[in-house]
């Protein structure tokens, strides 16, 4: 145990306690949390900052507002319903098609209007929000998968997670939905996490359930070596999210739409630590490097220049 501990220290692996004490509590003022905990506010903020997001079709904020849903999605076969305060992808409902009055979930299961309404009602009651307070429900654009990434996704859209410190992207991974994760891009639900070389935007080996995998478990496609489309723009968007929110330690989730390119999906003030496993690297050394920079430059391009210089993935020499 002590041996592992020493090795992790040396490798600069960040633990939860240290993340909370040294980064989140110090760099993320509590008053800024609502900006990212409420997905609706995040969206408004991003739109105001001129950043691309999935289009918002409508908001349901009361139980009787559920009746407006058919109207909201009248012209659309595909859409996503999610609670504004949901965390970790909980409660997100992806509708990929319709047949008459029935809706297809991304898993292929069918829902009728009443069941969909019940699901929304649960979201409104705060079933998925922290502390169970009343919530609002977003109905928004269904992001379609980019063909390059389609080969490594199972019924869903992969999302890219970047950890951004003081506006410097320090680490990135892409989360690929699998059959096990029911089309969702959540690692603890069985999605594959794949590290991304921050400089080139090229994927590395993946991790499924803390085990290294080289191929997607469902499509069988090789995971490493994929070039993430529009990587430069993704990096810049992530860097700008810091300026937009003021949060010093930030998780940025970005999805890539086939037609619209990268879109900001949501932000996270307490990003998880799995990204280290996916990248087979610890965060601390990179975080320290950024902190030694002192005050961040207000120019995102300068910050990205710094990242490109220092954060190239170094293959593990074991």
């Amino acid at each position: 145990m002590l041996e592992i501990r020493r090795r992790l220290r040396q490798g600069g692996v960040l633990g939860i306690n240290q993340r909370n004490a040294e980064f989140i509590r110090r760099l993320n003022p509590r008053r800024l949390y609502p900006l990212v905990d409420d997905k609706l506010r995040t969206k408004e903020l991003a739109v105001a900052a001129g950043m691309p997001v999935p289009e918002l079709f409508g908001v349901i904020s009361t139980q009787h507002g559920i009746r407006t849903l058919p109207e909201l999605v009248a012209e659309r076969d595909q859409f996503v319903v999610k609670p504004a305060h949901g965390s970790g992808g909980n409660g997100v409902l992806v509708i990929t098609g319709r047949r008459g009055s029935l809706f297809y979930k991304s898993s292929g299961a069918l829902l009728d209007e009443r069941e969909l309404g019940h699901h929304i009602s649960n979201m409104l009651s705060g079933l998925y929000s922290l502390g169970g307070q009343r919530d609002r429900v977003l109905v928004e654009y269904y992001v379609r998968c980019d063909p390059i990434l389609e080969e490594v996704s199972y019924r869903g859209v992969p999302d890219i997670r970047l950890v951004v410190l003081n506006g410097y992207p320090v680490m990135a991974m892409i989360r690929l939905p699998t059959r096990l994760s029911d089309g969702r891009a959540n690692l603890h639900q069985g999605a594959v996490g794949v590290g991304i070389d921050l400089v080139e935007g090229r994927t590395l080996d993946g991790v499924l359930d803390n085990q290294v995998v080289t191929e997607h478990p469902d499509t069988g496609h090789r995971l490493a070596g994929l070039r993430v489309p529009a990587w430069e723009r993704i990096l810049k968007m992530a860097a700008l999210c810091h300026d937009m929110t003021g949060l010093g330690y930030l998780g940025v989730d970005i999805v890539i739409d086939r037609d619209l390119g990268p879109l900001i999906l949501e932000l996270n003030a307490r990003p998880g630590l799995n990204i280290q496993i996916a990248n087979c690297a610890g965060l601390i050394h990179r975080l320290r490097l950024v902190e030694e920079q002192g005050a961040a430059t207000p120019f995102a391009d300068d910050r990205l220049e710094f990242c490109r210089r220092y954060f190239r993935h170094q293959p593990v020499a074991s």
Partner: protein, 508 residues
């Protein structure tokens, strides 16, 4: 990230908590273990007199702050007599008086005492020495003996020892023999020793002590010497010359007076009895602190009504459970359903015992989760659904109780003591985790909850722990300090070592 304020705060809290507890232990002898019992003695003087119809006054010398003992309780019993306690410099008397009394009168004095080595008796320094003349030739003999003894001694203790040695000599020199001519009883020798010491300018007096023995009905007083060495009173045995008061000797009265003095009565008869009773050490400490009129005891938990005390017996354990929770979550990294739910479940286990508690908890939660999924099809709103689950939980508890009663299993009845709302929330959270994240995570968190609850229960159930926080609630400050320190622990959690074990091998 300065940690100094944290360490200072934690240090102050620990010092305060430990200090207060230590003070209670040292000053009042609060026992540190629940079973620790200290010996308590009851000493009783019973005396009778006969009287005619006329005023009667009876005076009994009673103990006054005996060295090495604390008097916990005193009782005076008589029939119709008025009682006055007169406290003098070196004595304490109980005076019973009545205008008219006929026939045989019985008086009781009873004291409950306990050994307390920290009490040295609050004795006044002597007021000076009065040398009483014995008349010639005794004065000359006395002066000679004192002069010889002084020549062979250096200080007050050695002088005292020398005098005692001479008086006890089986073959005394002629001056000593002259002094002893009137009698050689121990009492007489003690009085002579006092007379010799005072003529040498050393304040001294005879005191009477009782050897404490269990079940002694006719205890006898032992004379002892109390000698002022210039700074403090010291005790000497007039028989052996031993230079201290043995722990078993209970000093009853001092000064030259008789134990009882009766005016208006006759035929006084005294019986002194002593016996031992063993009561819980805590009770004694309480009584003793009471005796000292300590402020600490005025604000003590032990002063609260019994019902309130029993509530605090449980409440005071919650911080201990919370501390274990903090350790397990932030240092070990166990995942649980709800932050403090395991502690509350552990409290419930106190009523049901561990094994039965685990089985019953699992049973009710399993049934609840099952029914909740069935209800999910009814598409209920969330709050009504929670209420419905609550009703189901109550019915479940009832069913378990009735069934187990039918089967003759007493333990099933205790299920009613589970906090219903806690169970409801457990069912709801478990269901959501099950649905959203998957069975594995749900079982993981469920087991974590039970493991923490079981551990918290085991620790909270330790007699010592329960006793310590109840008698020394200030120790919770130490727990608080511990929580503060863990609150700034930024190292890896134990489970993180497992989670990240593949990492950090080669990269820097």
């Amino acid at each position: 990230m300065k940690k100094a304020p944290l360490w200072i705060t934690a240090g102050l809290l620990t010092a305060t908590g430990l200090g207060l507890a230590l003070y209670k232990v040292v000053a009042f002898g609060f026992p540190l273990k629940p079973t620790e019992e200290s010996q308590v003695w009851t000493v009783q003087a019973r005396f009778t007199i006969d009287s005619y119809t006329r005023p009667v006054k009876a005076v009994l010398q009673i103990p006054s702050d005996p060295p090495g003992f604390a008097i916990l309780d005193e009782n005076f019993v008589s029939r119709g007599f008025g009682l006055t306690i007169v406290e003098g410099d070196e004595s304490r008397e109980a005076q019973w008086a009545i205008r008219q009394a006929a026939g045989r009168q019985t008086f009781y004095y009873r004291a409950v005492v306990t050994a307390d080595e920290h009490r040295s008796g609050s004795l006044q320094p002597p007021r000076g020495v009065e040398v009483a003349s014995l008349g010639e030739p005794f004065d000359t003999a006395r002066d000679t003996v004192v002069a010889e003894a002084e020549a062979q001694s250096a200080d007050v203790p050695s002088l005292t020892s020398e005098i005692i040695r001479r008086l006890n000599d089986s073959n005394p020199d002629e001056n000593t023999a002259l002094l002893l001519a009137e009698g050689r009883s121990l009492g007489r020798r003690a009085e002579l020793a006092v007379s010799l010491l005072t003529s040498a300018g050393v304040p001294a007096r005879v005191v009477y002590a009782l050897a404490l023995e269990d079940g002694e009905r006719f205890a006898l007083f032992v004379p002892y010497l109390e000698v002022w060495d210039g700074a403090a009173w010291r005790w000497f045995s007039p028989a052996s010359g031993e230079r201290r008061l043995p722990a078993s000797l209970f000093l009853w009265w001092r000064g030259g007076k008789a134990l009882i003095d009766v005016i208006g009565g006759f035929n006084p008869e005294v019986e002194i009895s002593t016996w031992r009773n063993v009561i819980a050490g805590l009770e004694i400490a309480e009584q003793r602190a009471d005796l000292e009129r300590s402020r600490i005891m005025d604000y003590s938990l032990l002063r609260l009504p019994i019902q309130t005390q029993s509530v605090y017996r449980v409440l005071l354990l919650i911080p201990i459970g919370a501390f274990i929770m903090v350790l397990l979550r932030n240092v070990i990294g166990v995942k649980t359903i709800g932050t403090f739910m395991p502690v509350l479940v552990a409290l419930a286990f106190r009523e049901t015992r561990l094994l039965a508690g685990l089985v019953l908890f699992l049973l009710v939660v399993a049934v609840g989760v099952g029914l909740r999924f069935i209800m999910d099809r009814l598409l209920l709103l969330m709050v009504p659904r929670l209420a419905a689950v609550l009703v189901i939980v109550v019915l479940c508890l009832l069913a378990v109780s009735i069934l187990s009663h039918r089967l003759g299993l007493e333990v099933g009845l205790s299920v009613a003591l589970f906090p219903i709302v806690i169970l409801t929330i457990a069912i709801e959270r478990f269901s959501i985790v099950l649905e959203e994240v998957g069975a594995r995570e749900a079982v993981h968190q469920g087991l974590g909850t039970l493991a923490v609850a079981a551990l918290a229960y085991l620790v909270m159930g330790l007699d010592t722990v329960e006793y310590l926080v109840f008698v020394f609630p200030e120790l919770l400050l130490v727990v608080l300090a511990g929580i503060l320190i863990v609150g700034r622990y930024t190292g890896y959690r134990l489970f993180e070592l497992l989670r990240f074990r593949e990492l950090g091998i080669g990269n820097a």
